[in-house]
Symmetry: C2
Subunit: 250 residues, 2 copies
């Protein structure tokens, strides 16, 4: 495991300086609400590879991902693993109404969390409208994403799974960077082949083979094994098996 390439220059610890201020659970907070949140918040950092919490452990905080990538995974007794969540900047971790976590939460890159003690956070949720409203919206988005993922897991071929995964990353890249339209996209793969396999319900060998196949067919170009160039997004979309005209997201 290695460094976080895009470490945020976020030093003051002041909400007004926060890179996820307008996308996270606090997005809609007014000054007063923000102040109340600020009173119960604290930062925690985890290095790449570190486990943030184990499934079943008590969790006395909830948190927003400020920077880095974390995963939620479930593991069966015999070691089979399935990733059930991929957490990026501004995503929320934990349930305000539950003291225990249901999944292993792992830092994939170096991760910075903005944590809130659970009880006070829950009280704030009851007392102020804007946090709950935003959290509801984010949770509904998560639910939609997990349902898209179900289609991938249940019905797509290995090649389509890989293409879909790459397309999701590429789409996110376009959104964050704001640069739309341009058909060519470059981005970093935050996951190992094994983690991709856990995400997609495949083995790492199959992931590797399909990546090679997509490369061979010119759908993607691998600069640096973890750095992906998609010369033509439309071409990649064709490989996902999804309806071309965005029907899936409607």
């Amino acid at each position: 495991m290695s460094m976080n390439p895009s470490a945020p220059s976020f030093r003051t610890g002041d909400c007004s300086d926060c890179p996820i201020r307008h996308r996270a659970v606090c997005a809609r907070c007014d000054d007063d609400e923000l102040q109340q949140l600020e009173a119960i918040k604290f930062y925690r950092k985890f290095s790449a590879g570190e486990v943030i919490i184990w499934a079943g452990d008590p969790m006395d905080f909830v948190a927003s991902v400020v920077a880095g990538v974390a995963t939620l995974t479930q593991t069966m007794e015999d070691g089979r693993r399935q990733m059930v969540g991929l957490l990026l900047g501004s995503d929320f971790i934990g349930r305000p109404d539950r003291s225990h976590v249901a999944y292993d939460v792992t830092a994939i890159t170096d991760v910075t969390l903005c944590c809130f003690r659970r009880k006070p956070f829950r009280d704030l949720l009851m007392a102020t409208p804007h946090i709950g409203q935003r959290l509801l919206e984010m949770t509904l988005d998560e639910l939609d994403a997990s349902r898209e993922w179900m289609l991938i897991l249940g019905r797509k071929t290995a090649r389509e799974k890989i293409a879909s995964f790459l397309f999701i990353l590429a789409r996110r890249e376009t959104l964050t960077d704001g640069k739309a339209g341009g058909t060519s996209i470059t981005f970093d793969l935050p996951l190992t082949r094994e983690a991709m396999a856990d995400y997609l319900g495949l083995t790492l060998e199959t992931v590797s083979r399909q990546m090679s196949a997509l490369k061979r067919d010119g759908v993607i170009v691998l600069a640096d094994k973890r750095r992906i160039v998609v010369p033509d997004c439309k071409r990649l979309l064709d490989e996902t098996g999804d309806d071309a005209d965005g029907g899936v997201l409607a």
Copy 2:
């Protein structure tokens, strides 16, 4: 498609008489809030097999399932289908913040919905705390369920998938009926083999074969092809591949 065996004796249309009053989105409402909800509600009925809304269609209401079973499904261009939600009594349909649905919603049995016009409902959500709080809790539960489902889709064998599905139904039966403990459980299968296949990411032939295998091995007894008897729940649980001591749910 046929009748709904357990049609509710719910005639007045009055919330105080409602079978899902204390489990649905209105569960926490006080008298005043309930009155406001009552002002914008209306009932709609759908017969078994009927499509409630098509993916991509505009939807000017949200709703609670009062009675019956409905499904959310995604369909790919070439006809591959994946069920992404199974909606039972008290479950919620739609997003207050979206005017279009992302999935086909279908009545599997006869279904009664308690609908709220979307805009007024959204306003109510902003104005009163209890509806949003309950909706958040329900959405988080849905998200957990869909993540459990992902593990099933991504990593379990066909036999484990079937066993897991039956176990989920059996568990729900125990909860609603309140009768805990007793190892033997009987319940109706609300889905056809094909719908089960869509749920589990299998073909209907594989579902049929695995059902036969579980019957042959004495894990289940089929009274009436749709009426399942589970003589020993522990035995069924063993077949799901999940951790025996509830570790999965923690």
